[in-house]
């Protein structure tokens, strides 16, 4: 039933560092920094000012349009509302909260009984999910309510992405093992919104424990199928996962809804359950802190806004970190300032040692074609890069550079260490710039 997508690579999984470490509750930090932009779309406007008292789960930022509100993850006093470093590499307006460690809960966060949940309409559910600040927690941080409301009537297959194909990351694996019932409950809510009787959970075969736990909590009447897929990077990429589960190809430039699919990350499903049943907005998430130089890699349940260095310190390291990544080594963003806060889309912090260095001076393409065999989008990175080197925007477009999903399979496999992904990001920007110029002229 499972299809195998084209290309892909097999990087060293390195899941053993953290996959058997039970999720620990990270002690609440004294200070949290909550950025107003933790999703794709318009940033929030702060709803609090310096000196205000906030409670756990209180909405502290919101805006009109494509926006998802953010909430306080601890109770205490607002110390500052200012621009702070963000995992994206820029600075973002953030609310800094000094924790009073009283854990005063916001009055709005009330649990619902099964009857109350059953009585909710689809609009109510989507509204609760929106107000709960839920975004795609696999890293892309697309607003979940938009995916839900936009997919009604179009989506016939819903897939939970528990693929977690990135090396080192084990947060979804731990979630499936420890709280499968909440994940399944969240998926059922999504199925109810779409009016579907069937749902899929896509997971790689390198997580047998998680598969076992999920299957143990599923009854035949649930209509939920666990699709065990071969471990291959990027199995968890949205388009590749849809292909692997359904055999459908999301059209170039299109959304999954175009082929009747909607994909939700495993952690997102659990967050949907939390907000619908417990009334708790998204203020905590599981973060895998792993890497080859950490003394004790961990899976931690972390309040949003906890700084990276607090988490890394909790694990200890044996040599000075060479790179600290928000995410895994294939697609993660390298950080230069470890005061950056953990945000909704951070599923892992990967700390790598010097031996991971592979960049070479003046890399030269050998034309070996290994990148073509690795590209899951069936592109030709070798020719895309050549077009980039000659600054030829038309040739870049003709070589479908805009279809690149930046998964890194080509650059991983390139024997000459040509910085392909970096090049394609530059190339995409050049195309966008050229398009903007055209528009300005017209």
């Amino acid at each position: 039933m499972a299809f195998s997508f084209f290309g892909g690579v097999h990087p060293k999984e390195n899941k053993w560092y953290a996959c058997d470490k039970e999720t620990q509750v990270f002690p609440e930090p004294d200070i949290v920094v909550i950025p107003m932009s933790q999703h794709i779309g318009a940033p929030c406007k702060p709803l609090v000012k310096k000196g205000d008292l906030v409670t756990v789960g209180q909405k502290i930022g919101d805006n009109q349009g494509l926006c998802v509100p953010v909430h306080a993850s601890v109770s205490g006093k607002v110390k500052a509302v200012e621009a702070r470093a963000h995992t994206s590499g820029t600075t973002v307006m953030s609310v800094v909260i000094e924790n009073d460690h009283l854990d005063t809960l916001c009055e709005d966060c009330k649990p619902r009984t099964q009857e109350e949940v059953d009585a909710l309409s689809v609009e109510d559910l989507i509204n609760i999910i929106h107000e709960g600040g839920i975004v795609g927690m696999g890293g892309a941080t697309f607003p979940t309510h938009v995916k839900l409301s936009g997919g009604i009537g179009k989506v016939d297959t819903v897939i939970v992405n528990a693929g977690e194909c990135e090396p080192f990351i084990t947060s979804d694996d731990r979630l499936c093992r420890e709280q499968p019932e909440k994940l399944i409950s969240g998926l059922k809510i999504v199925m109810r919104i779409f009016g579907l009787k069937e749902g899929h959970i896509g997971i790689e075969d390198n997580k047998p424990e998680a598969v076992k736990a999920l299957k143990a909590h599923l009854a035949a009447s649930d209509g939920i199928i666990v699709d065990v897929l071969p471990a291959k990077y990027p199995q968890g990429a949205e388009k590749q996962l849809i292909y692997a589960v359904t055999g459908r190809e999301v059209p170039s430039g299109g959304l999954p809804a175009a082929v009747g699919c909607a994909v939700f990350n495993a952690a997102t499903c659990k967050a949907i359950h939390d907000v619908v049943y417990d009334g708790m907005p998204l203020i905590k998430r599981i973060v895998t802190v792993s890497g080859d130089i950490l003394m004790e890699p961990k899976n931690l349940l972390v309040p949003i806004g906890t700084s990276f260095d607090a988490l890394i310190e909790a694990c200890g390291f044996s040599e000075n970190p060479y790179k600290v990544l928000s995410g895994g080594p294939m697609m993660g963003a390298a950080q230069y300032d470890l005061s950056v806060p953990t945000i909704k889309g951070v599923n892992a912090i990967t700390v790598l040692g010097k031996k991971n260095e592979y960049a070479v001076e003046e890399p030269r393409c050998l034309r070996c074609g290994k990148c073509i065999d690795a590209c899951p989008m069936k592109l030709m990175p070798v020719l895309m890069y050549k077009a980039l080197q000659s600054n030829d925007v038309e040739e870049m477009k003709a070589n479908n550079i805009m279809d690149c999903i930046e998964c890194g399979s080509c650059a991983y496999t390139c024997p000459a260490s040509v910085p392909l992904v970096l090049g394609f990001r530059v190339g995409k920007q050049l195309i966008r710039n050229a398009a903007a110029k055209e528009k300005a002229k017209a």
Binding site: K239, P251, L325, M331, E362, M377, M380
Partner: protein, 332 residues
């Protein structure tokens, strides 16, 4: 705000941050390992001069690349071992009696003119070793003096005056005759010819190693050798089709060319279909030159001609991108 307790310099770079253990250097090292059986065989067949010629050629290639980078202040990458591969291949396509000065000139041409002037590894249009060989044919007598095979008949390390000359199987076949040695000898390499080309068996062992290590795919060699096999089977000279075909396959530089030269990444197409057409083109041109050309071996010129077609061959058989509209897919 937690203060940073440790001092560390973090490196910022684009993802991915992981890399496959396969690098240019490991690939070139694998090619050298794959060439080793043929090199050892050549010492057995032609004596220590075969090794000496190879070492001189490798040293010259590495030196010229280093010197070029030194003079032009280009970043020197001799550690990627590609110059070593060129050096070994250049020696392999010369007779054992080749004077050292000739092979040094060949190396000069291969590295400086063909490789470095075009921008170094990855930018050259044609295979440097084969272009070097073509250049060395400026001294045709030196390039086509064949000694009788055998360790004891070997040409001396310094002087080649004592060497006993003999015809090669390909020389016989060029006149439309079956070679005067057995097919088995040709397969094992116990015949006259260039240093590294005589033993099909040892080259096939190298082929198996390259396939096992996934350095190359079998597409180009199989298309190349297959085309030669089919054409020589269809148009035999003499009575025995099978024997003629076997002699064509084991004779001359076909195995060396198909396995190690035509598969050079830089000068072969990147698309699957392109590679197959390229292999077929190499095979057809080889037979054409062997049958109708003035010189009895066609492999190297066939590959050089096909090298020049790579830009065109890269345009055929491009993969249809994931999620391409069905109409577009059908059109392609």
């Amino acid at each position: 705000m937690a203060q940073m307790k440790y001092f560390y310099e973090l490196t910022i770079s684009s993802s991915p941050h992981a890399h496959s253990p396969v690098t240019t250097q490991t690939i070139m090292r694998d090619v050298l390992i794959a060439l080793a059986p043929a090199l050892i065989g050549s010492i057995y067949f032609f004596g220590f001069r075969a090794l000496m010629v190879t070492l001189v050629s490798v040293a010259a290639c590495v030196f010229f690349e280093w010197a070029y980078c030194r003079v032009t202040k280009m970043h020197c990458k001799i550690y990627d071992l590609s110059a070593c591969v060129t050096g070994v291949l250049l020696a392999f396509v010369c007779p054992v009696t080749i004077p050292y000065w000739t092979i040094i000139l060949g190396a000069l041409f291969a590295i400086i003119v063909v490789k470095m002037l075009f921008g170094g590894l990855g930018r050259n249009i044609v295979n440097p070793a084969l272009a070097g060989r073509a250049f060395m044919f400026s001294w045709p007598v030196l390039m086509s003096t064949w000694v009788k095979v055998g360790f004891n008949n070997a040409a001396g390390l310094v002087s080649t005056a004592d060497a006993v000359t003999a015809a090669t199987p390909l020389g016989n076949m060029h006149q439309g005759l079956m070679p005067d040695c057995s097919i088995l000898d040709m397969f094992l390499g116990n015949v006259g010819g260039c240093i590294g080309e005589t033993s099909a068996l040892l080259l096939l062992i190298g082929f198996a190693y390259l396939l096992l290590r996934k350095v190359i795919t079998p597409r180009i060699p199989l298309a190349f050798i297959g085309t030669v096999a089919v054409l020589s089977f269809l148009f035999p000279q003499g009575n025995d089709r099978i024997a003629w075909m076997a002699a064509q396959l084991c004779g001359g530089g076909l195995m060396l060319g198909a396995i190690f030269m035509a598969t050079d990444y830089v000068t072969s197409p990147v698309t699957k279909l392109g590679q197959i057409v390229y292999g077929i083109g190499c095979g057809a041109l080889t037979i054409l030159i062997r049958y109708f050309g003035g010189y009895n071996e066609g492999v190297s010129y066939a590959i050089l001609v096909m090298n020049a077609c790579v830009v065109l061959l890269d345009r055929i058989g491009r993969p249809v991108k994931f999620g391409a509209p069905k109409k577009e897919a059908a059109k392609k």
